[in-house]
Subunit: 266 residues, 2 copies
Amino acid sequence: MRIITWNLNSIRTRRARLLKLLARHEPDILCLQELRAEAEVFPRLDVAAAGYHAEIHAQAARNGVAILSKQRARVRRRGLPPCEGRGEARFLDVEAAGLRVLTAYVPNGKSPRHPDWGYKLEWLEALAAYLADECDPEQPLVLGGDFNVAPADCDAATANPDGVLCHPSARAALAGVVRWGLDDAFRLEFAEGEESDRNLYTWWDYTRLSFARNAGARIDHLYVTAPLRSRVRKVMVDRDERRQKKGQDIPSDHAPLVLDLDVSRG
Amino acid sequence: MRIITWNLNSIRTRRARLLKLLARHEPDILCLQELRAEAEVFPRLDVAAAGYHAEIHAQAARNGVAILSKQRARVRRRGLPPCEGRGEARFLDVEAAGLRVLTAYVPNGKSPRHPDWGYKLEWLEALAAYLADECDPEQPLVLGGDFNVAPADCDAATANPDGVLCHPSARAALAGVVRWGLDDAFRLEFAEGEESDRNLYTWWDYTRLSFARNAGARIDHLYVTAPLRSRVRKVMVDRDERRQKKGQDIPSDHAPLVLDLDVSRG
DNA sequence: GATCAAGAAG
DNA sequence: CTTCTTGATC
């Protein structure tokens, strides 16, 4: 089965690209982040016509996540405690296709010296607490999303330890999530330093020709629990989705991360 | 020869439609209004590749006119006196293809009770004065543009005498321009009441399904001087350009007005 | 550099 | 309803 996570950066602007992605990959599960529009804007009819159910947790203008699935999903949770006070839609937990599927849009943090930096760390701690309280590491579970953290120096073209993506405190907070009982599916297939530089980064800044220079970072991840560890068959970045063909519509700044699991019996 | 006037409502947004229009009609002259961007934004290269020269009179964000021609044009005037104080780009006068070609984007006026209503009337008076001072009604001349006036009640689906398009003062001011020595090319072909309701209006409000209901107005005009009067062969509205095909880009609220002149010798 | 929100304009 | 501006965010 195929599971994808993609920060599409506006469902309004990326509607056509979303439908093409569904047709191209036919994923069983698709986790989306940064819908940036109220739930009513989501193209439910087009997505249904493509054969997908959609569970949505959205707000106006900012954040917003969704999980699309061929089989209808059952929602377990919308939101995490640190989101509540700010009214932010950054987390969704469902059961779908015999799995627990969680998606997260981790706060960027703005800068390690900005007042919002603490919010990023608290948010990751709340995610770890949620897993501990509400999930079972012995059951099949996938956690996918935009974590706004490059776990290791080799996961970013410029691994600035003072930047939002590589700061030690953010890496430690993410490690606290993983420690509960997760494996980074990408790293199950590719050891650090053994990946191709064409199948590593998932995000490139819109400015300074970052995509052309491959000046990106691996900040979108798919994590799996132990029962799925040996089921990981393939992990790849759909770089082509990040490309802008001449005269075409503008891509998201993130590329989809695609995971194939072998769920045949035995 | 073919002469078109079109208020395209943003050169940025209508770039692809402009190029298709050139390919579809191959006009000798194309007058454009409401570029709504600085001159640098104009797609000179694409237009040149299509075989056209472009003379542009533009400003940032608002107004802006241009005259495209297969043969290079010679600019006679950019702007009219009432534009100067406000920095508005609403008028361009060139020689092209053996003709004098003027294009105008007449101020809307906002409402007959708005302080800007006087500006609309002054603007039309300045246009009449310009013709009297700078042009010769015995020479071949075409004046095309968005006049924001429906000359007669049959030129608007709802001919509200209190509205900006049908107010008697605006009609009188436009009549003052025509009186210099112009014929409304559309009315040379179709007498009042003898036109088809599918070849009359050039503008339809974006709201209230105006185009579907054909609730439009004939406010874009092509005027000709006496030497061209007997040369008018055909006048038609390219309604198809105003249509929005499902999933396609958004049209301008104006349709192009197309004039064919017979300029064969004798 | 691309997105969203207001507000102004047509 | 669609466009453009400015300012904020990522």
